[in-house]
Amino acid sequence: MKKILNDPFHYVDELLEGLVAAHPEFYRRTGIGGRVIARPGEARPGKVGIVTGGGSGHLPVFTGYVGKGLLDACAVGDVFASPSVDQMADAIRVANGGAGVLRLYGNYGGDIMNFDMAGDIVEMEDISTTTVLLTDDVASAPPAEAEKRRGVAGMVYAFKIAGAAAETGADLGEVTRIAQKAADAVRSTGVALTPCIVPQAGKPTFSIAEDEMEIGMGIHGEPGVRVGKLEPADRIAGEMIDMILKDRPIRPGDRISPLVNSLGATPPEELYILYRTVKQRIEAAGGEIVMPLVGRYATSMEMVGVSFTFCWLDEELETYLKAPAECAFWRV
């Protein structure tokens, strides 16, 4: 693994500069230190705003999903580090069209503290906010402590679905309800084959042996549930699907959108090899596949590895999932 960068301490600011330069039709930089990415133009009056935030190094997550039918603004931290309270508060302010703002992000301690505090601050400015946390990583805590689970690629579904709901003009309570429903409908797990390099550290912060893989590892290298020899694709896929289905079985007739996601370096070729098993297993259990997603939707820079997310859909969620949306990384 090697990186192409200038001063590691400017990594995030430079990538944001490039991002808005390349896609001014989707993104603008604003907020304290330029660390808020928002849609161009003012917040739409009367539309519920949706903000997210978190560490950098996961593109398209988080920043990339700002766009029509998706998010309104994102507070951008350093690589794998929380944005500051003030950056989050600015993201909320810019997303506010007077109808309140939903904070929709992953269940990480630092992010929560900062977003809560940012909420306290903007409350004094009469902006009402709600929170929905993504907790889709089944490997990160047992079912009994499901609320402690980390948020990973499942947040893509929550962004999409909540974003579509907000676009219809639904009020804050309704958008929050739907976002929570989406968050409850997703289950994910991942496998990592190599670490990635945090620019400021300059070297991998953890390691995986040359012939091993780590099932359930978090996107920042949080330890997984099993370290083992690297196995054939079909078996890796099988084990990951088992983990998801153990947490939530498929019932005949279930409509499921599966996401086969590269954590970075794993090429689409290998995602498609894995997708075969995903499709077989869902269909074998009597499920029906809706809008499968295969690609890089939530990454850890150049990490080798993949994650699977299953999103169980009802009519409402499916409608919002399929509604038009557009950002520089995804168009529906």
Partner: protein, 200 residues
Amino acid sequence: MPLTRDGLIAGLSAVADHMETVADVLNTLDGQLGDGDLGVTMVRGGREVKTVLADLPPEIGESLMKVAQAFTRVSGSSYGTLVATGLMSAAKATRGRTEVPWSEVSGLLNGAFETMKARGKAELGNKTVLDTLDAAAKATNGLDDPRAILAAARKAVAETMDRMRQTPAQIGRARIFADKSIGLDDPGMVAFAEMLKGLG
């Protein structure tokens, strides 16, 4: 003499300066269990705080709020937010006053503890800064002399660190390395101890 704006400025300035000298130690310690940024957090926070000291108003509550805001401006890491949360709690408790008797320090520490506990959703015993903060609040209860307060707080913090060294971390990033954390001091506790040390 009670706590005034000038005393606050002197204290914060001393703590900020002291942070520059312990940054590497804190980074290294945090690096063993987390992302190695705790020294950076404290130094950045301290420097930003120093930029606002000259303009602090006589009112203690407002001053503390400005200090808290300075801290949040530059820090995205947990500890920075927790420190700011504690400062804001103290700011609320001292709103409208230009003098705060030393006998209130214990209560301010306890107030900070409570709000920080709520913010971080942690419990006593999780091996975080909260354990030392709670110990300091309790040890200073009933004291009204600044030197006595500082000495009692230090002693309580050191004892808590000794007591908890062999327990595993249960929250934050360090929770991931719970096993590795046994035998190591919690970085946030060490940072708190160093803040007290910086006070003289």
